[in-house]
Structure formats: C-alpha cells, structure tokens
Symmetry: C2
Subunit: 355 residues, 2 copies
C-alpha cells in the first residue's frame, strides 16, 4: 500500500511517473536497455536530455535569453557556484529568510564583499524580510523563494537594480513565475521535479562568463553551457524521471493548473488549522508557503504523539525540522488532494481524542 | 529484447539488479514509497546508505584507516577535488596514460607545482608509461588505473614515497586490489557500480584535512566525511542501485570471482583477435585492459560497416572513441560471457563476408 508521504524532500512523485519508470526499467523504448545503462552519447539518451530541457523551457516560459543547465551537487553546490560565477565587482547582497539562505550567505562571504541586507532570524524565520535596502553597485541579490523548514515564501520580489539570484528548490514548478524577473534560478530536483541527484540552473546568458579565477571548472556554468550539460556523464536516470514528470505536468494543464491545485490543497489545510483551537501555525499569514505547512498542537508531548500515530495511519514524515519543532506537512505538486483531505480527517480525530 | 550493450559507460547492469529495482519502484520494502521519493533522513534510506558502504568495505577489504564517501559530480569533479584537498607542500606528480589522466593533470596544474612524470601520449596512449621518476617531496602521485578510451591498464604500481591517488572509474570492482597501496581511490559509478550520478571516493583518513583555502565546502572530503556523506541530499537512487549491484557481486562470489570471470571474458576476445589476420588490437600486450578492448578491421570503411551491422544484430555501442577510432568492446562485470561468445561469432561471420 502506498502511503501519503509528507517529506520535505525527496518527496512524492506522481504514480503515473513511477509506473512509466517501472515499465521501462529493463527496456526503454525498445532500445534493449534500461535508462540506467544507456550511454549518455547515444541517440536514445539524447532524446531524453533534449525533451527534458524543451519541456522545462515550455512549461516555465523560459525565453532564449536564458540557458538551462542540468547539473549535479544539489543546491548546496550552487551556494558556492553562485558567487564563484557571478562576482565581478566583488559585491553582493543576501536576504536571509531561513536556514538554506543562511547557508548560502555563509558560503558566499568567503568570496567577496557580501552584505546581509535583511534577516528574519530573530523571529525564527516566521516572516519574509521586507523593505530591505539593497546596494546599488553590486553583482547580484540572493534570495530563497520558499523556505522549506519554516514554511514561508516570497509573494513579491525585493526592488533592486541588479540581477536577482533565487534558490527555488522547494517551489520550482509549483506556481507560475516570470523568469525574466531573475538573473539566475536554481533548484535541487528532489521536491517538485525528479529524484535527488539533479540540480536545475536557469541562468541569463549574459551572466555566463569565466567567473572568478578560483572557480573550479566543474562549478563553472560556462563549462556546462558550452556542452549542453554533457561535459561529463550527466545523472541520466534523474533527468529521465524529470522528463516523465514534466510530461505529466504538461498533460495535466501545465504550471497554471499546478498552481490552482496547490492553492486549493494548501487552502484546505490552512483553513482547517486556522479554524481549530487545537492546532496552530505561527507564520506571518501573507508569507505562508504553499508547499510546506508547519503546525503544532498545544504541547510538545502531543506533537510527538501526533507524529507517531500519523505515521501508523499512513501519513509519514510529518515531523517538523529540529530548527522549527512540531509538525510540517510538505505538500508538493505530487501530494494528491485526497492526501490533504485524509490528513485533515486524521487531525480531527486526533484532536477529539486528545483535547 | 535486451541487447548486448558494449558502451564504455554508462553500461550494462545485472538483469537481477534491474528486476529488483523494477519490483521496488512503487513500494520499497513495504515502506509505501519508491526509493526515488524517500527522505534521506528516513530509517529506510539509512539502511540502504549503510548497507551500500558496508558492502563496499567488505568486498574491497577496505580497513578502518579508510573513509568511504558517496558523492556527486563524477570523476571530473575529483580531478579538481584531489589537488584542492591534498596539496599541502603544493607539489604533485602525474602520470598521463590516457585522455582522462590528461584531463586530471590539466586541472591540477592550476593549483600548484604539478609535474608530468610520464606520458604515453606520443604513442597515442597504446602503453602504460613505466620507470617514471617520481619526486620525493610531493603530496601525491596521480595515476589512472584503467584507460577506458585506449584499452590499457596498470598491472604494477609505480614506485614512490608518497600516497598514490588513483582514478579507478573503469576498473573498480572488476579485479582484486590492495586498498592499502593507495592514498585515495576514486571512481565514477557508471561502469561497474551503479547508474551515473554517483561518485565513490575511498580516502585514507589521515589525508582528510581542511585542504586548500580556496577549496569549496562542497568539494571538501572533510565536509562529507564528517556527515557520513549526508551533508546534503545524496543521490539516493544511484546509491540504492549500487547496493543491489554489490549484493549481486557478493552472492556471486565477490571480487575474486568477478576477476576470474572478467579474465575469462577478456581472454576469449583477445585470443580471437590475436589469432585473426582480419582484426587487430594495437595495445602493448602486457598493458591490455580487461575492461575495454579496442580493435580495428583492415580499414576504416570496414570499421564503419562493422559498427552498423553489429548494432543491427544486437551488439550496440561498439564504435571506438573518436580519439582512438575503430571499435571498442567495453566488457565490464555485467557483460555476460554469452555476450562475448556471441560477439566473436558475429566477428567471424563479418570477417568471412568482408575479407
């Protein structure tokens, strides 16, 4: 029996995608081999690689000013690749709205004059910092669009005169975005795109240069952009799974439909929490994430009991991150509406038994 | 119908491994989810991660002086990670025996006093350089154990007073090795271990330090060694496939049996080529690879025809690398003996029709 997996990532994939992968596992498309065995220089793989990039371009309306890179190493590698590729004047500003943007900031300060333009750390990241003063003469501003651990997200971009670099690991493909608002978008794949092991970078072509002298060849975007992300062997199976998932999104109406579905799902859960005097969510309401919903019961003992009983009932990985405590329901694209409805039913019965 | 896939990598995996992955694709071990969807902090994944490392330790007889790292980025990332982690005196020697060791050398020269201690480039890498003079006061000597493109391999290690760093991408798990002979062994997974997207590093613990100041956090072995290779989300599915493959190797007698099987397979093919006056292999005989067998027909037109007809007959990816020309049969662990026997039958009939 499949469970409802509320993990913050890696997380659920559409059943249809898993079924395709299962069907193809011994023989992809009459090639006589699995995608896991396929030369990355073969025509079979070339079609997968090309279709994956084309679907990303189509679904996210990425125009020709932008390059799409399919990399390894996770968003954590981009925390360093970003300054190593972009610092020319040697200055950048960072807004710290959660744990991962803080990590990105801490990596960047090794490489230049990096300023903290805003932070909500003192409030345990329960809101998105607003009205930050961004310096004029800098290479870029870095933000994190959705904060997986604390359950916040940007709904309006900061004003600045430089390219915005945005970590979209936990919100990519979940809502419509205007790519032209950004200089660089990067995302680990393991929430809304594919299994872990693939990192997506969407970068405006004019920002792709040789970068800092100390930037390793393998971290240079130019290395991968000049070779169509085939400088060395790509994570082919994860790219194939991404292609299957993107096909699934397209078939189901594209990002616009995903957004409507995600708004409905998150709305159901927040609405239930807000109308409960047992559960609560501590995030500044306008900054609430559509992907990660943290909540607590009246005390930490009940939180623990909740997580345990929920798992036994088939609602798994609901334990909150240790930095936030309580529970967290990560409800990415592939969490079905029925998963939310069933979780709310469970929450109701837990409340009535423990109030 | 499954084909005989002679690709240099990614390449064949055991049918049994693919069947297990297929069976588990919707629900791994009654977890209610696929390994592709699983939190890397879950107990289910922890068991996979731990078993994969334990099997590597057991099968390769890796003692406690060595750390096993499961990374991303391919051997190409290690071309830079090696000098960035190991250079302290700032000096290292490289022996260039093929295309990839040449790439490793070219990346390293950015970081210190790097000397070319030997090269077979002038002979298009048809032999392994011997009797190289290795400097005494250096941080390490770098070699590549098996040269995928040119079909050579080391059978005796160079003498030196420093740690040997060895790229074993295309020979790891194919023959018995004495890990204690090395300071560092690294390997992309996509030939003998797992699908692409996983990189194995076996490193002597005393060589794990903070490395050069400019070494990015994500390239530091110490980062991953302190976190059991869970600093950020690992390539979980590739690690799971590695575990399945290692179980398969263990069940079939371990590395000793793999070596005997590989010696037999390579012996059949080399023996046939050597006794033919139609096909030939240009590699210095004592340096011949057991994994990659390059060969040619009497002319390049026949080479092209061979590759085409072979593919139609179910022997795919036999085209040689553009740097070597002709054909190349990559016959890693998972290429069955029947694949070699059938290929030889095809070669015989091609010869009789085209002589």
């Amino acid at each position: 029996m499949r469970v409802y997996n509320f993990s913050a990532g890696p997380s659920m994939l559409p059943l249809e995608v898993l079924q395709s992968a299962q069907r193809d596992m011994l023989d992809y498309n009459n090639s006589g081999m699995s995608v896991t065995e396929m030369s990355h220089r073969s025509s079979y793989y070339d079609e997968i690689h090309t279709e994956c990039k084309a679907l990303l371009r189509e679904l996210l309306s990425i125009n020709d000013k932008y390059e799409i890179l399919l990399l390894q190493g996770g968003a954590s590698s981009q925390f360093e690749a970003v300054p190593l590729n972009l610092l020319k004047k040697g200055r950048a500003d960072y807004i710290v709205s959660g744990n991962f943007s803080n990590k990105a900031y801490k990596e960047a300060i090794k490489y230049g004059d990096i300023r903290l333009a805003g932070s909500s750390k003192d409030a345990n990241f329960t809101f998105i910092p607003k009205n930050c003063e961004i310096r004029d003469d800098i290479d870029y501003l870095h933000i994190c669009h959705n904060n997986t651990i604390f359950g916040t997200r940007y709904t309006e971009l900061p004003k600045c005169n430089c390219p915005i670099v945005c970590d979209m690991s936990s919100s990519i493909l979940s809502q419509e975005i205007n790519v032209d608002d950004y200089g660089v978008i990067y995302a680990g794949a393991q929430k809304n795109l594919a299994p872990a092991g693939l990192t997506l970078v969407i970068v405006r072509r004019d920002l792709i240069t040789n970068g800092m002298d100390i930037c390793p060849t393998m971290m240079k975007w130019i290395t991968q952009s000049q070779t169509e992300s085939l400088y060395n062997t790509p994570p082919a199976f994860a790219i194939y799974m991404a292609m299957l998932n993107l096909r699934h999104i397209k078939k189901n109406g594209g990002i616009k439909s995903m957004q409507a579905y995600n708004e409905e799902k998150a709305g159901l859960l927040y609405n239930y929490i807000d109308n409960s005097d047992f559960y609560s969510n501590h995030v500044n309401v306008p900054d609430r994430s559509m992907m990660n919903v943290p909540f607590v019961t009246p005390n930490t003992d009940l939180d623990k009991k909740f997580v345990k009983l929920a798992a036994e009932a088939g609602f798994v990985s609901l334990k909150g991150h240790r930095l936030a405590g309580g529970m967290r329901a990560s409800i990415y694209n592939s969490m079905p509406r029925e998963g939310i409805v069933s979780l709310i039913e469970f929450m109701k019965s837990f409340e009535s038994e423990n109030k």
